[in-house]
């Protein structure tokens, strides 16, 4: 059981809570760095997907988890980032130029939906983002000169500064570096005035305003940054998948992302990574269990959707704080052993006030 005794204000501002936490993350970093030498190519690819979806998770978490703006069309930003990257790479641009451009385009799309959505909240915002997602999907399918339409688009191999990264471990390290950078940027943002302003908007728009938070500016900022981050993930996604088509970016995918961050733990950065791990591990688990299941159930697509749905429902009902919530509890159990009590994390049931004023 650790107790952190703070004597200086600087301790409140530290990146890592304390030395043991920093050590744990250092070990994790070392493990991830060593992974390509230790694990098979297949699992390396899975880790890359975890990184990519983790970045998506960070983006969506910023918008939905920290600013409270529910987005049901996030796959649109992934798509814009992916197609933009493919387009620029096909014209020979190196990644260091094409990726930021892709991020900028995604950010522009974020602003495009963020501005009209400023006065909307809750349900109306969700429907607006849903509509946006559909429109982008349709545009991708129709704009054949740029996107290849429904026939799809091939993605050229990634050129970083000029040299092509053909090897998978090169791409692995690129994704690892980027997910760490995005994560660090997010942590920094959230312990700064802008991050706090976003959280204020999530929890109470009216009092955020009375504290001087310019709602329009920060909401638009959140949309733009969230879209840009997701766009970056899209750029990486394009190179991983190597072939893009509009079906990869449907509204169903958007809803899967939303479910991913909720299962991971809405409102925490760890949740993004846990969610990404879940979304990659689920098909894996189904594959391994396939041999033990009757044939009728072994139809993988149906089973995956069913399990996804059921697990999601179980989390919402029993563990609203998601996988990260479970992690916190397990961690507390072991660090407080044997003083952990079952009711420690039980939150008082606060009956939310109706948003409607009748």
């Amino acid at each position: 059981m650790r107790f952190i005794f703070k004597t200086r204000y600087e301790q409140d501002l530290q990146f890592f809570k304390d030395a043991p936490t920093a050590c744990s993350y250092a070990l994790l970093g070392a493990a991830l760095l060593a992974a390509p030498w230790v694990v098979s190519e297949y699992y390396q690819t899975q880790l890359v997907f975890v990184f990519i979806y983790g970045i998506v998770g960070f983006g969506l978490m910023l918008l939905a988890g920290f600013t409270g703006q529910m987005s049901m069309g996030h796959a649109a930003f992934l798509a814009i980032g992916a197609y933009a990257e493919a387009y620029f790479q096909a014209r020979g641009m190196p990644f260091v130029i094409s990726a930021p451009l892709a991020m900028l385009l995604s950010a522009a799309a974020g602003v495009a939906i963020g501005l009209p959505a400023l006065r909307l909240s809750g349900l109306y915002l969700a429907i607006a983002t849903l509509a946006f997602g559909f429109i982008v999907e349709e545009v991708l399918a129709r704009w054949e000169s740029v996107t290849g339409g429904n026939g799809g688009m091939m993605v050229a191999p990634l050129k970083l500064f000029g040299g092509t990264i053909n090897s998978s471990w090169g791409f692995y390290y690129l994704c690892l570096v980027l997910v760490v950078l995005v994560g660090v940027a997010m942590v920094n943002l959230l312990r700064s005035p802008t991050g706090r302003a976003l959280i204020a908007i999530r929890d109470s728009e009216i009092s955020a305003q009375s504290m001087g938070v310019h709602l329009a500016r920060f909401k638009t900022l959140s949309f733009a940054f969230s879209a840009a981050i997701t766009g970056l993930a899209g750029a990486l996604y394009a190179h991983q998948i190597k072939f893009l088509s509009p079906e990869q970016f449907t509204v169903l995918v958007s809803i899967e992302f939303l479910m991913m961050v909720v299962i991971g733990g809405l409102g925490s950065l760890h949740g993004a990574i846990f969610g990404a791990m879940f979304i990659i591990l689920l098909p894996e688990a189904i594959s391994t269990a396939k041999d033990y299941l009757p044939d009728a159930v072994a139809d993988q697509t149906g089973l995956k959707a069913t399990l996804f749905g059921i697990i999601m429902i179980l989390f919402v009902v029993f563990e609203p704080r998601g996988l990260y919530g479970t992690w916190v509890k397990v961690h507390a159990y072991f660090s407080l052993f044997p003083l952990y009590k079952r009711g420690m994390f039980r939150r008082q049931r606060a009956y939310t006030r109706s948003e409607r004023v009748h």
Partner: protein
């Protein structure tokens, strides 16, 4: 402040919600450094006045002037920037954040916000964070909230949350503080503490307080001047003693 201009004045302020007249040509002015209280039965329009000052909705007619600056026509977030802070009747705290984070948000108007620099947590950002942290600690000391610094607001008892709401408003370093029913829901001891704090806010921090209140003993104890409203109209104003003995006020409360 322009010479001759009152510190805070409201002139013939009216608000109509459809056919309902919530405020009817209310006028009063507040002197710098005083505690000015608005009393009145429920539904008299007191919180409406506050909501109009905070620009939560626009007034139907009239003017609100703070240090000579006209408030109406501005946007809500500018109110804090001008130096007016406020608490809410039903506590509008950021429930999922810690007390410390709530208070730090109060510092919003005093720190520049540069998202790109913040992502890298540059030394300038770090320096400003330390400044904010120190400033917030002063308010924590003032209201004795040390024990609750890192507690998540959602789990705190009501009385503590009211104090956090007050602390957050103080963190905005207002010149005029709007307190909406500061003692509602508090027990006798907590109301005692609140009374002392309100006086300390005026005396030690030099902040002018404009208050809406129901608890008459608190009103008589701390107020310099009182305004009584009923059905959206001013019915009396003056010192607490004058207003409380005014026949219209007595009638309004006792319902003759």
């Amino acid at each position: 402040m322009r010479s001759g201009a009152a510190f805070f004045e409201i002139d013939r302020l009216s608000k109509r919600f459809g056919g309902l007249v919530a405020l009817d040509e209310v006028s009063f002015s507040v002197r710098e450094g005083e505690i000015y209280t608005i009393i009145g039965p429920n539904g008299a329009g007191k919180t409406t006045i506050f909501n109009l000052i905070s620009l939560i909705y626009p007034a139907s007619s009239g003017t609100i002037r703070f240090c000579g600056e006209d408030l109406l026509g501005r946007s809500p977030e500018q109110v804090a920037r001008l130096g007016i802070g406020r608490t809410f009747q039903n506590i509008e705290l950021f429930a999922q954040a810690s007390v410390l984070q709530n208070l730090l948000i109060g510092r919003h108007v005093h720190v520049p916000k540069n998202p790109l620099a913040e992502m890298f947590f540059t030394p300038a950002v770090r320096r400003r964070e330390l400044e904010s942290r120190r400033a917030v600690e002063e308010v924590i000391d003032f209201l004795a909230l040390q024990a609750y610094r890192d507690a998540v607001v959602a789990g705190l008892p009501y009385g503590v949350r009211k104090v956090v709401e007050l602390a957050r408003a103080l963190c905005t370093r207002p010149r005029l503080l709007l307190l909406d029913e500061p003692s509602s829901g508090l027990n006798v001891e907590e109301t005692e503490d609140m009374a002392y704090w309100i006086q300390d806010i005026r005396d030690e921090l030099g902040i002018t307080v404009l208050m809406v209140e129901h608890d008459m003993s608190l009103v008589s104890r701390v107020s310099d001047r009182v305004l009584a409203v009923n059905f959206g109209k001013v019915i009396a104003h003056g010192t607490p003693a004058e207003v409380q003995s005014h026949p219209d006020v007595v009638a309004a409360y006792l319902g003759h």
